[in-house]
Symmetry: C2
Subunit: 228 residues, 2 copies
C-alpha cells in the first residue's frame, strides 16, 4: 500500500515560489492500477517523483509498505528503488551511449543477475514491446515512440512491485498504446504489481481501476472503474 | 507549395540498413494544414526533418517554393530555415541554459530584430500559450507540457511561412491541445501559413485540411477534410 499524506512541494525560481503540490493525499492498494489525470502543470510528474523518492518533499509523508520514503537518505532511497520500483519517465531518460538492449538490461545489473541472463531477459522484453530489431540501436537511432517503448521495457524487466509510469503512451500510436495498456493490466492483475500511471488520454485512463484527478497540486476527485 | 518526390532515407546501424523512407511522394499547397499520421517508427519525424533540411535525403527531391532543398549546402539551409520555417520538435529541443522567454525570442534574434521588440513579441507568444508566469523558468523548471508549449511559441513567434510540428500535443491535456489546434487553424487560414503536423491523435488530425497516412516509409492514403 502507498499512502500519500498532505504532501506539499514548493520549488523556487529566483524570487518566486512555485507550489507544485499543495496538500495532496491519496491511497493506492497493492495490485491496484491507479491513474492520475490533470492539466498540464498540475503536479502529476512531481507527485510521481516524490513517491519514487527521486525528489524530496517540502512537507508531508509518503509511506510505502510501512516505510517512510520522505525520511530515507539517498543510499536507502537508491536501494529501495532498485528492489521495488520501475519508472517510465515522461522524457524517457535513456542512457544515450547504451544500446536499447543495454538500457533495458540495466535494472537487472543492479540486482546482481548474471550477464547472460540479463541479456536474455532484456531481449525478451524488447520482443514484447516489438523492438527486437532495434536491440543494437542507440536512443538517437530510434523514433520517439520507440524510445518510449524501450523505457517501458526497462521499467518492467526486473518485475518490480510498483511501477510509476509518467505519460507512457504520449508518443505511441493507438494500436501500440492499447497493447501497452493490456500488458499493464495483465501484469497488474496476474502478478499483483501496483501501477501508478499519469496520462492525458481518457482512453488510456479508462483501463485503470482507480482514477485520481489532480488540480493545482491537490487531488480533487477519485473515481473507480465501473467495469471491475 | 511543397513537393516531395520519391524520397528515400536509409540509415546505417552497424551492418544494418534501416529504410526510414522508401519512396514517398506528396504535395502540400500554400496555406494548407496537412497532417501526417502513421505507426510508431513509420518515418514521420524523418520526413519532417528532410523537408526542413535538418537531414539529407538518400535519394529523391524536396522542392519548396521552387527551390531544391536536397541540393542546398549547410549555409543556404540555415538561411532558408531562418527566413521561412518554424519547427516544433517531438523532443522539444529547448536550450537548457535559456529561460522560456529567451528560448521563444531566439528565432527573432536571427532576423536582426531589436532586443526590446524581441522580448515583447516573445512575451506575447508566451501569454498566448498560457505561460507568461513561467517566462523566467528554464526548461528543467517546467513540466513536460509546459516545455512543449514553449516549443510551440518559439516556432510561431517569427510568423514563418511554413511550420513543421512533430507531435505538438503529445504531452498536452485535452483542453490545451484544442487551444493549440484552434490557434494553428486560425493562423493557417488567416495568415496563409502552411502547417505540416505529425500526430498520433485522431482528434487532432481531424482539424487538418488534408491527412496523409504513412506506412513503412511510403505514403499510402491521402484524405481531405469533409468539413471544409
Ligand atoms: N538517426 C537514426 N539512425 C538510425 N535509424 C533511425 C534514425 N532515426 C530514425 N531511425 C529509424 O527510422 C525509422 C523511422 O523513424 P522516425 O523517427 O521517422 O519514425 P516516426 O514515424 O517519427 O515514429 P514515432 O511515431 O515513434 O515518433 C525507425 O525505425 C527508426 O528506428
Ligand atoms: N524543478 C522545478 N523547478 C521549478 N518549478 C518546477 C520544477 N518542476 C516542476 N515545476 C513546476 O511545478 C508545476 C508542476 O509541474 P509538474 O511537472 O509536476 O506538472 P505535470 O502535471 O507533470 O504537467 P505536464 O502534464 O505538463 O507534464 C509546474 O508549474 C512546473 O512549472
Ligand atoms: Mg508531467
Ligand atoms: Mg517521430
Amino acid at each position: 500500500i502507498i499512502e500519500v499524506r498532505d504532501i506539499k512541494k514548493v520549488y523556487r525560481v529566483g524570487e518566486n515560489r512555485i507550489r507544485a503540490l499543495d496538500g495532496l493525499s491519496l491511497e493506492i492498494y497493492p495490485g491496484e492500477f491507479a491513474c492520475i489525470v490533470g492539466r498540464s502543470g498540475s503536479g502529476k510528474s512531481t507527485l510521481l517523483n516524490l513517491m519514487a523518492g527521486l525528489e524530496g518533499v517540502t512537507k508531508g509523508e509518503i509511506i510505502i509498505a510501512g516505510k517512510h520514503i520522505e525520511k530515507m537518505n539517498e543510499k536507502e532511497l537508491i536501494l529501495f528503488r532498485q528492489k521495488n520500483i520501475g519508472f517510465v519517465f515522461q522524457s524517457f531518460n535513456l542512457l544515450s551511449h547504451f544500446t536499447a538492449l543495454e538500457n533495458v538490461a540495466l535494472p537487472l545489473t543492479f540486482r546482481g543477475i548474471p550477464k547472460n541472463v540479463r541479456k536474455k531477459k532484456a531481449m525478451e522484453m524488447l520482443e514484447f514491446v516489438g523492438l527486437a530489431s532495434h536491440a543494437k540501436h542507440k536512443p538517437m537511432q530510434m523514433s520517439g515512440g520507440q524510445q518510449q517503448r524501450v523505457g517501458i521495457a526497462r521499467a518492467l524487466v526486473a518485475n518490480p512491485k510498483i511501477v510509476f509510469a509518467d505519460e507512457p503512451t504520449g508518443n505511441l500510436d493507438s494500436k501500440t498504446s492499447m497493447d501497452v495498456m493490456n500488458l499493464i493490466t495483465d501484469i497488474s492483475h496476474q502478478r499483483h504489481t501496483t501501477f501508478v500511471m499519469v496520462t492525458h488520454d481518457q482512453n488510456m485512463a479508462a483501463y485503470a481501476d482507480k482514477v485520481v484527478s489532480v488540480l493545482d497540486g491537490k487531488n480533487t476527485d477519485v473515481q473507480y472503474s465501473k467495469t471491475k
